[in-house]
Each structure stands twice: as C-alpha cells, then as structure tokens.
C-alpha cells in the first residue's frame, strides 16, 4: 500500500488537475443537494402538489388527459425555477470543465500505462477484504467522464426548456444531478464495489426518473419494472464480485486485471465469472432476455430517456466489459456469448423497431439494438471499437431523443392549446413536421444518417469498426480457434457478421420510416393544431445543434486505416494502455496493413445502409397513413412485430403469473398462512399462553406452595454451589 501511495505521488498526473478527480461527482452531488432542498422546501410551502401531472409535456394518453383535465390555463413556473436552472446545469457544466482540464492534463502527460488512482478513505476493511473509496483515472474512464459530463450538460440545458412548466422542476433537476454524480462514481470507481455503488445509484435514479410522473400508475409500474429487472442482472454482478474475491483476494480493478491470467486460459472458473459479469451487463444494458424494461422506461421525461436510457447508463455494461477486458480475453467462450447475445439483441430489437408507432418506442428499440452492436464489438475483443460506438451512439441517440422530445414538446403544446386529447407521441398523428420544425428536422436527419451508417457521419465509422472487427476475428485469433456450444468460433463469428449486416439494413429502414412518418408527407395533426406547431425555444434547439455537429464529425475520433481522411485511429491509440493488451490477445496475429477485403467490407456496409434507406423511401407511403384513432388493426407478421413478439405477454404468462400465483397459493396461503401464521405465530402465542398457564398455577396465593418453591429454589442454589 505504501508503494501504491508512492506511485500515486510520482504519477505523471499527480500534480495536474487530475488530483481534483474527486470533485467530478461531488459537483453534481452538490447540485442534487441544492435542488433537492429546494424541492422539499417548495413542497413544504405549497403542499404536496408537486407530482401532479399538470403541465407535464409527454407521457401516455391517460397522463395527458389528466394534464388537460386538471389544468388548462397557463401554468405558473415553479417559484425556484430560476435558481434550479442555474444550479442544476452549472454543476454538470463545471464538472465537464474539470473533465476537460483533466483530459488536457492527460494529453500533455503523454503515455502512461498505469492508471492514476486517488484513494480517499477506507471503506470496508475486514480481514482480507480491503476496499478503499478510490477513484481511478485512466484513458477509458476519461472517455466515459467526457461523454457523461458533456452530453449530460447538453441534456440538462435542453431540460430547462423541456421541463419548463413542470410543477416538480427542482425535483427533476435534483434527480438528474444525482444521476450524473452516480454515473461518474460508476466510471471512476477503482474497485468493483465502488463501481457497484455507482451501478446501483444510477439504477435508483433511473427508477426515480422513469416514475417521475408517478401519479400515473403505468409510469410508476414502468419504474418498478426497470428496477426489478435490473436487480436480476445485479445478482450476476454480485456473484461475479464474490467469485473474483474468493479466487483473487482483491477487488481493485487494476489488481484484478493484473491477476486475471492466473485464473487460467479458458478455464471454467474465468468463464463463469465473465458470464456472471455479463449477466449484470445484460440487465443494465437491456440485452436479451432482460431488455423488456427499457421500452417501458420511455414513460419518463424525454431528457431522461436521452441521458439515462440512451447515452450513459445503459452503456455501463459495455464499459464494465471493457473495464474487465483482461478477464474476458481469458475466456473465448464468454466473449463469443457476449457477441452472440449482443448480435441477437441487435437484430431482435431492430425488427420490433420496424413496426412501432410511438416515436420514443422506436428509439428505445433502436437503443437496445445499438447496444447490441456495442456488445458485439466488446464481445469479439474490439474494445476500442465498442467504446467508439458507445461515444458516437451517445451523440446521435441523444440527438434523436432530444429531437423527438422537441417534436413531442411541439405536438403537446399544440394539443394543449386546442384541448385535443390525442397521443402526442404517436407518429401516425404527426407527419409533415419539416415545415414547422426545420431545425429539428435537419438535425434528426443527420442523426438518422449517422445511425444508419451512411458516410461520413459518425455512426458509419463506429459501426464499420465493429463489423470489421467481427469479420477479422472470424479469420484469426483466439475466438476463431475456440469452439462455442460445439460450433467452431470462426463460423459463429461469420454468422454474427451476417446478422450484423442484416441489422444494419433494418436500422436504416426503421430510422428512415421514423423520419418519413414524422417529418414528411401530409400533416395529420388537424387544422387547429397545425397553427400551433412551431420550433422549440433555443435553449432546446441549441443542444441539438451541438449534438448534430458531434454526430456528423464524431467519426473522426477513430478513423480506420482504410480511410485516412485525417489522423487515423485516435481513440484506438488513446485506449491502447487500457485495453491494448486484451485486444491484442483476442486478435492473435496482427493483420498486415490494409487489404482489399476491408474496402469490400466498407463498400458492403455502405451499400446496405443506402439500400435500407432506399427500401424505406420506396416502400413506405406516408401519404396513405391514417391518424392513430382511424388506424386499422394490423395482421400477420406486422401484428407480431407491433406487439413486440408478445415477449412481455410471454414473460407475464411464463414468469410473472406463475410467480404471483405461486406466491399467493404456496407462499402466502401455504407457507405464510399455513405454516408461519398457524404454527409459528399462533403456535408461539399458544406456547406463551401455555407457559403463562403453567406459571399462573404457581401463583396460587397459597403460602405453603410458595414456601415449597423457596425451599426447592434454595436447594437448587445450594446445589449449584455444591456441584460447581
């Protein structure tokens, strides 16, 4: 430990801004405290009016009914709105500024291979278990910190406009600040338990924000669903931690990564640990089969969907795998599992996205799908590619969500003015919005092209990086040589590549569909509402523009060697000290420069993306679309897709209903009432009564009996002394 401390002092970052790393989460935490106090103070002053849906700007139809019904007049802004806006956005902004300063210090410090660990206090110290509350700065966590604080700040600014008239304004910002703080703890944690604190903390904030308008039951239920489904995954994370500690006697990430090879290559142990870790990721990052909470999570306000359920929290699983790369490369089987699950999720979610009508639901399934891509990347050991897609996805998906928020905001305002109770999130009610919202229209097209993978937008580079990596790993490396469920790894990876391409095609189709139905074709809102449609204020469009720029040029962060349009592989080189060794292990033989195959792959990818867009443009007829209330029921496969393969119903029938009825009939009626109540509860009562009865027989009031009792007691006491 002394050596470590010395190492910290002599670390190249020791005297730079990095020593303030502890402030990164503390600043948003301070924002949380201030805003939370304001929220409490205002609810104390005005009574518990806060959770009312009055003035809420999106959500379900029922919620809007409540909104229109209860409060049709102009809503007064929250009394503390001004101070909340300043504190709530300033704190993440300051955190972002500090992150930039630390980033610049890291750049100027040049190459350093050991992470900068700053320990604050002993947290859990018992026997072997020595956990300090420590933050770890290295290239990987730096990337995440920049994404979280940067995108987070933009979304905070957007929220000022979006949540403008919400009665719970300070509460919203308090939760959002708290989320940023926990997310930073997650990515900065130097040991798995510290990470886990952040992991659970963001889960909590996610729950709080999904159920933000908790007076509508479906919102509160969605929050609960997210929370419970996430707990299933967290069991895996905990199991992984227990197993790591039992075998390596440490939970510090650096130490675990250093000791990982001692677990044995491809041993059952390391595979089990990795699969348990991945179980945590599956829950948090909404992969098959635990993805079901994410679409429901769209019940929360749209900035929440953008920040938590697209850009940051759901990518924590990807980060966790990149963090534990040294463990994962030890187990090709686990790696291929990660990649297979990721790919299947990507394809599965993309097909559902094809037939969703709720604009946010489309984006939710799109997020699940893109997360699947990221897992495909980190699964095959292309950690830099996975992280690259994480970053670009944070840009364009945040943009898409905020853009959809902007659309919903406009739609809702229009409905609000005319007293219309239609669904402001259903694309069938939109159409032709490009005339009214040109900025949002243009920016969302950028994001759409990016996610579809059209060059030169960012998504093209990151997605191509992942697909290229999958193709390359299929040719050589530890994964190609491994077998997975009896199948050669190479064949599995080729199949994954094919499915990845198919997903890319579907992505392009459903995103173009979203754009067509929302912005093109005739307007379906209605005459009165049409007059009220207009662009959102600049506090909302501004962040969109910034994200639009980032989505467009984000690809330059990590240009492939095949397309030297600038400095090649910046992110690759940046992450080299953290994941380079693991990537090299997974890759095996290093390919010899640029080959013609790679150009073919790129051409195929571009062709697929363009083909998808063209198919959508040719096949879809926005002009023929009917508003939601007039829509005809779907049939066949379309109905299957619109109902999301009935997975929720399947889970209900297969898991929830048996669980509930089992709980009711066996646990409640059988065990609780039958055994615990009648035997333990009533039994203990009967036992007490019996003992009391026996005791009361001694209280006869007859002094003779008392004398006997005293005599026998004296006998016993003397006996105790005698036979001591």
């Amino acid at each position: 430990m002394l050596q470590e401390l010395a190492a910290v002092d002599t670390h190249p970052l020791a005297e730079t801004a990095a020593r303030f790393v502890g402030l990164l989460p503390l600043l948003p935490l301070a924002g949380f405290l201030v805003n939370g106090a304001l929220s409490l103070a205002s609810s104390y002053k005005r009574g518990p009016a806060d959770p009312s849906a009055a003035g809420a700007h999106d959500g379900t139809a029922a919620e809007q009914v409540a909104a229109h019904g209860s409060d049709h007049d102009a809503v007064a802004r929250h009394p503390y709105a001004a101070i909340t806006s300043v504190v709530g956005t300033l704190m993440p902004a300051l955190s972002f500024a500090l992150a930039i300063a630390i980033f610049l210090a890291m750049v100027s410090a040049g190459d350093f291979s050991t992470p900068y660990v700053r320990s604050y206090f002993d947290w859990m110290v018992t026997g072997d278990l020595q956990i300090r509350w420590a933050f770890q700065l290295d290239q990987l966590s730096m990337v995440m910190v920049l994404v979280i604080t940067g995108v987070g700040t933009l979304i905070h600014i957007f929220s000022i406009g979006y949540m403008r008239d919400d009665p719970g304004y300070p509460r919203f910002f308090a939760y959002l600040n708290l989320f940023v703080a926990f997310m930073l703890v997650l990515v900065l944690g130097a040991s798995y338990p510290v990470m886990f604190v952040g992991w659970e903390g963001v889960g909590l904030c996610s729950y709080l924000l999904i159920g933000y308008w908790y007076n509508v039951k479906s919102n509160a239920d969605a929050g609960l669903k997210a929370f419970i489904v996430n707990r299933i995954g967290d069991v895996g994370f905990l199991m992984a931690m227990f197993m790591i500690f039992a075998n390596l006697h440490t939970l510090d990430i650096t130490a675990v990564n250093a000791a990982a090879p001692s677990l044995g290559f491809n041993s059952a142990l390391v595979t089990t640990i990795c699969l348990f870790l991945f179980m945590g990721c599956v829950g948090k990052s909404a992969q098959l089969p635990l993805y079901v909470w994410l679409p429901d999570a769209m019940a929360g306000p749209t900035p929440v969907s953008a920040l938590i359920h697209a850009a940051t929290m759901v990518t924590a699983g990807v980060y966790l795998i990149a963090r534990s790369s040294a463990l994962f490369v030890m187990s090709p089987a686990a790696c291929i599992t990660v990649a297979v699950v990721g790919t299947l999720t990507a394809l599965f979610a993309a097909t559902i996205g094809l037939k969703q009508w709720d604009i946010k639901k489309v984006l939710a399934y799109s997020t699940i799908s893109q997360l699947g891509y990221m897992f495909m990347g980190v699964g095959v050991g292309a950690y830099a590619a996975g992280m690259f897609h994480l970053i670009t996805h944070a840009f364009f998906k945040a943009l898409l969500f905020l853009g959809s928020g902007s659309v919903i905001f406009a739609m809702h305002r229009a409905y609000h003015h005319t007293g219309n109770h239609d669904d402001a999130q259903d694309m069938r009610n939109m159409g032709g919005l490009r005339k009214y919202m040109p900025w949002t229209f243009a920016l969302m097209w950028i994001a759409t092209l990016a996610i579809a993978g059209v060059p030169p937008f960012s998504g093209f580079f990151s997605k191509d990086g992942i697909l290229g990596a999958v193709f390359e790993r299929a040719q050589h490396g530890t994964l190609a040589e491994a077998t997975w469920l009896g199948m050669p790894g190479s064949a599995v990876l080729y199949a994954l590549y094919g499915l990845g391409l198919l997903t890319a095609l579907l992505t392009a189709i459903y995103m173009t569909r979203l754009m067509l139905y929302t912005f093109h074709g005739p307007n379906r809102t209605g005459e009165a509402e049409r007059a009220q449609l207009r662009e959102a204020p600049w506090s909302m469009t501004g962040p969109l523009v910034v994200l639009g720029v980032l989505s467009a040029v984000g690809g330059w962060l990590d240009l492939p060697a095949t397309l030297p349009l600038g400095p090649v592989g910046l992110l690759d080189k940046w992450l080299e000290p953290v994941v380079g060794a693991a990537t090299a292990t997974a890759a095996g033989v290093v390919g010899e420069g640029v080959t013609s195959t790679e150009y073919v792959l790129i051409a195929v990818a571009v062709a697929i993306a363009v083909l998808g867009i063209v198919i959508a443009l040719v096949r879809l007829r926005p002009a023929a679309l009917l508003p939601k209330r007039d829509a005809l029921p779907e049939h066949g496969i379309e109905k299957l897709l619109e109902n999301k393969y009935y997975i929720d119903e399947l889970y209900d029938d297969a898991i929830v209903t048996p669980l509930v009825s089992g709980s009711r009939n066996i646990l409640w009626k059988g065990i609780d009432r039958g055994i615990i109540d009648s035997f333990f509860v009533n039994g203990s009562a009967a036992l007490s009564r019996g003992v009391g009865w026996v005791g009361s027989q001694f209280q006869s009031g007859e002094t003779g009996a008392y004398a006997w009792a005293i005599a026998i007691g004296a006998l016993a006491v003397l006996g105790a002394f005698t036979f001591r």
Binding site: Q699, S700, G701, E702, T703, G704, Y706, A707, A711
Partner: protein, 98 residues
C-alpha cells in the same frame, strides 16, 4: 467446637425449614421462622468466636430486633386474618392470589 456449633446451627435451621413446609398453622410457621433465625444466630456467634471479634454478636442483636419486629407485625396480621376467616389454617388463606 466451632464445627459442632455450625452443625447444630445447620440442623436447627433445616428443622425450621421442614417445619415451615409441613405445618399449616400460621402461628407455628411463624415459630419455625423464629427457629430458623435463632439457628442463624448460633452460626453468627460461632463464627464471631472463631474470628475473636464481637461484630458477629452485634449482628445477632440486630437479628433479634428484626425478629421481634417481625413477630409483632406477623402476629398482628394473624390476628386480623383470624378475625376474618375464623381460622389460621394457611389453606384457607390465599390472600396473595391476585
């Protein structure tokens, strides 16, 4: 003689105990208690003798005083109970029963 004195003391005390256990006449039980107290007094005297100190004898005086007070109060209680029940048989007296 100390050992013998303690032996007598113990035997007398136990006779007092047995008396309390087997008799039902309240007055006789009182007398048994007096016997027990006196038996203890014998122990005090013997041990005072053993240690060559008069403190034990002082305690005997205290015990006697308390015994006298107890007899006075106890007999007064017996009298008032007898007035009520026309009996001093303990089987008839269960006033302690709550």
């Amino acid at each position: 003689m100390i050992a013998e004195a303690l032996f007598f003391s113990a035997v007398l005390f136990i006779i007092g105990v047995v008396g309390v256990l087997i008799r039902r006449n309240a007055i006789i039980i009182f007398m048994c208690v007096e016997l027990m107290l006196t038996a203890v007094n014998l122990s005090f005297i013997a041990l005072a003798r053993l240690h060559g100190s008069a403190t034990g004898q002082v305690f005997v005086l205290f015990v006697m005083t308390v015994a006298a007070a107890e007899a006075a109060v106890g007999l007064a209680i017996v009298i008032s109970i007898f007035r009520h029940h026309k009996s001093v048989d303990l089987r008839n007296i269960n006033l302690l029963k709550g």
